[in-house]
């Protein structure tokens, strides 16, 4: 009897099978994520205005990324006041919002506290909730920080909104352009000039803490030098006295060194040097009869990439930070310039000239998978966003026979080559540099 029960149980278990329909999907929809960004609610009319501004900045940031599609506010069914308690997800599903951002803003003494919540409308869950306290004048920065948090939570990628851009502002005719250092937020807000234009400036680069800028200047007309500019104090200092020209500087990832090119008059060509900022001692990294310029550190500081004409044409080379294990990575035709190592560490962006055209391209650090993402009569100077997903560069228009045109402007583009956008600046712009995240 027991045996029969035992066997029957076994047979039952064997025959007990859960039927399940299996479907394999290999294709999905690639489109910007629809997101509803509501005005941050407040009982106070003054802070209510700040709340509106914050949501506006967040919306613009996310839209500019090309990955999000903010939904028109007129379509919202639920109002901000009731939303500040609990969202009615069905109301947001109707307008096809995939994510919802709601927030509140309070004022305590001279400070404001801004809290926001990010919801997944489909799964009806809160994905993120944070609160920030700051002075009222910092509302824009808080907006960028919130944008970064949202961007990171949804995409998994670090944000890039709480950043600044330094560039060379240009005015005047092509032969005698006035060039000034200018700085602005990544959304072009808070624009200001750092130099007065009385001397030429080129190739500004941020320090890792975003507080300093190194650049090349013709402050002393006959001997261009590398300088460091302190953004907060406005103080400028020369990095070292060299008999020849120093140019194309960049900070090391730890901010303690500067890598630059130095044209020693005794040698006659330019080589890569690393200068220790604490000791002011420089060390030569490359040693060849060729011109080696535009060096850039890898994110871990262990490697460098630069361009050299040692093979006859300008190509990209990767070496250890002490110059050993030198290896050419660019293999295609054309000339390569201005390589920049991605903050992700997996890609190198560069300028390429071939067949009368300039390109902005990217390749892997071993030179594979080279692809061009922007092309024009003259494009140059790529710089990475801190998340390694977006690039800034400048584009110069062709000069007409009558001398008109020839203006240069800044552009941003996605790593995939999509979502190219012109950056609106008060004057023409070139040589942009994107700061690391400021929070």
């Amino acid at each position: 009897m027991k045996k029969t029960i035992f066997y029957s149980i076994i047979i039952f278990l064997i025959s007990f099978k859960l039927h399940s329909l299996e479907v394999t999907l290999t294709q999905g929809t690639i489109k910007p994520t629809p997101i509803a960004i509501t005005n941050f609610y407040s009982h106070n009319n003054k802070t209510l205005k700040i709340g509106k501004n914050i949501s506006m900045v967040i919306s613009d940031n996310l839209e500019r990324s090309g990955l999000f599609m903010p939904i028109e506010r007129k379509a919202f069914i639920q109002d901000e006041e009731s939303l500040s308690n609990l969202p009615r997800f069905e109301d947001w599903k109707i307008i096809k919002a995939q994510h919802l951002i709601a927030g509140r803003i309070y004022k305590k003494n001279e400070k404001i506290s801004v809290e926001f919540r990010l919801y997944d409308v489909f799964s009806q869950k809160q994905l993120l909730g944070k609160k920030y306290e700051t002075s009222e004048k910092n509302w824009r920065r808080v907006s960028h920080i919130i944008s970064d948090a949202i961007f990171k939570r949804i995409t998994g990628e670090g944000g890039y909104f709480d950043t600044r851009v330094v560039y060379v502002a240009e005015t005047g005719p092509k032969e005698s352009k006035q060039k000034r250092l200018a700085i602005m937020d990544q959304d072009q807000a808070n624009h200001r000039f750092l130099t007065d234009g009385s001397y030429l400036v080129l190739t500004p680069r941020f320090s890792p803490n975003s507080q300093k800028i190194t650049y090349m200047s013709y402050m002393t007309r006959n001997s261009p030098r590398v300088y460091i500019f302190d953004i907060e104090t406005g103080h400028q200092e020369i990095v070292g006295e060299f008999p020849g020209m120093t140019f194309a500087p960049r900070f090391s990832p730890d901010g303690k060194k500067i890598i630059m090119s130095y044209a020693d008059p005794d040698v006659g060509n330019s080589e890569i040097y690393i200068l220790d900022l604490a000791t002011r001692v420089s060390s030569r990294i490359t040693n060849s009869s060729a011109i080696d310029v535009s060096a850039s550190f890898s994110p871990d500081g262990k490697k460098i990439v630069f361009n050299s004409d040692r093979s006859g044409r300008r190509h990209l080379y990767v070496a250890e930070s002490d110059g050993k294990n030198l290896k050419r990575i660019s293999r295609e035709g054309g000339s390569y310039y201005t390589p920049v190592w991605s903050p992700r560490g997996d890609t190198i962006a560069f300028t390429k000239q071939e067949g009368g055209q300039f390109y902005i391209g990217v390749m892997e650090t071993d030179g594979s998978n080279e692809r061009m993402i922007a092309k024009s009569f003259h494009v140059e100077g790529p710089t990475w966003a801190p998340n390694g997903r977006y690039l800034l560069y400048f584009k110069e228009e062709r000069t007409a026979e009558d001398g008109s045109g020839g203006e240069s402007s800044l552009y941003s583009i996605d790593l995939t080559g999509y979502n190219e956008r012109k950056i609106i600046t008060p004057l023409g712009g070139s040589d942009p540099a994107w700061s690391p995240l400021m929070h």
Binding site: L13, I14, F16, K17, L18, H19, S20, L21, E22, V23, T24, L25, T26, Q27, G28, T29, I30, K31, P32, T33, S65, L67, F68, K93, K96, Q98, D120, F122, S123, F151, R153, I154, T155, G156, E157, R389, L415, T416
Partner: protein, 343 residues
């Protein structure tokens, strides 16, 4: 406790009493069994049995699904009915003829004419031969003429050939009078009382009866076959049904914004579906994935997969209501090998 000790003792004494050969045999048997278990593995009785779905290239045109979703039964039913109708038309004076014809007209007006044309031709020959022999021809012809006017289906052809006969006999005044008489709405012509015709009628009746029996048998066989087919088809979803679902799910699967997806990344999710074709709350789960949790895109990629079934555009799911048992549990594999360009 004591009982346990006793049992243990008994077991030990039993082992002690065993001969070395039999003990060795038992140990070897147990060891082999354990080895086999390791080699084959324990069966997982609760593992959902995957339904074998043929590898189909997804079709984007929905029309294809309409065509393929036509149940096979319908086609076969139609075909069988036509055959039956043909068989019935062979009979003389069969009352079922009209009924069948009506059914045919109602059901499939497009398919039948083609098939009936092809199939009717041999019948015509038979009918003509018989009619030529018997004087009843004219009456039948006229009757058939009337029928052709009213019913454009299978009786059209039997009437076409008799026309030749009427041409040759048109001269006879009798025929004219007959035709006039037939033009009146008499349901059936008056029977002529010739012995031959009587015998013929009897034969026909007998044959029709036997045929009817056969047909009934055939019908019953057919119905059982059809039921079996229906049951069989209910056991699996058709290609078009799966295509339709796949298309719907693909439109609901929004690739994770900005995520870097590596080659061959796969996520398998399962969910329980309500009979109203909506997902049960909190039933969507990740069954399997080869994406490491340390990957910074793990969250966005898996969330986008799980969100697919919650997308309002996928509510309700396009699934056949009558096959609920087949889709009450669903497993979706998101294969990113083609989506790898998404960054």
């Amino acid at each position: 406790m004591e009982a346990l000790i006793l049992k243990n003792n008994r077991f030990i004494t039993y082992i002690n009493n065993l001969g070395s050969e039999s003990l060795g045999f038992y140990f070897s048997f147990i060891l082999h069994f354990i080895l086999l278990l390791f080699a084959i593995g324990l069966p997982n009785f609760f593992e959902p049995a995957p339904i074998n779905i043929p590898n189909i290239i997804p079709i984007e045109i929905i029309n294809v699904t309409d065509v393929t979703s036509i149940p096979k039964e319908v086609k076969e039913k139609g075909g069988k009915k036509v055959n039956k109708a043909i068989a019935e038309t062979k009979k003389f004076n069969n009352s079922e003829n009209q009924e069948i014809k009506k059914v045919d007209i109602k059901t499939k007006p497009k398919i039948e004419p083609k098939e009936s044309k092809n199939l009717i031709t041999p019948k015509e020959d038979v009918v003509i031969k018989e009619r030529i022999k018997t004087p009843v021809k004219l009456e039948k012809e006229t009757v058939s003429k009337e029928k052709t006017e009213s019913l454009p289906s299978k009786k059209i052809k039997p009437k076409i050939k008799p026309k030749i006969i009427t041409k040759s006999e048109i001269v006879n005044e009798k025929k004219i009078s007959d035709v006039i008489a037939k033009a009146q709405p008499k349901p059936k012509p008056e029977p002529q009382f010739s012995i031959a015709s009587m015998l013929k009628d009897l034969r026909n009746e007998q044959s029709s009866q036997t045929n009817e029996k056969k047909e009934k048998e055939k019908k019953s066989e057919n119905t059982t076959d059809q039921e079996k087919e229906i049951n069989k088809e209910n056991l699996q979803l058709s290609i078009s049904e799966i295509d339709l679902l796949r298309q719907q799910l693909s439109s609901c699967w929004i690739a994770p914004a900005g995520s870097v997806i590596g080659t061959g990344m796969i996520i398998k999710i399962s969910a329980k579906i309500r009979p109203n074709r909506r997902v049960y709350d909190n039933s969507v789960r990740i069954v399997d994935t080869n994406i490491s949790k340390s990957n910074k895109f793990y969250g966005p990629i898996t969330e986008s997969a799980m969100r697919t079934l919650l997308n309002p555009e996928c509510i309700p799911l396009k699934l056949p209501k009558d096959k609920y048992n087949l889709w009450k549990n669903i497993t979706i594999t998101f294969d990113h090998s083609i989506m790898q360009g998404v960054q």
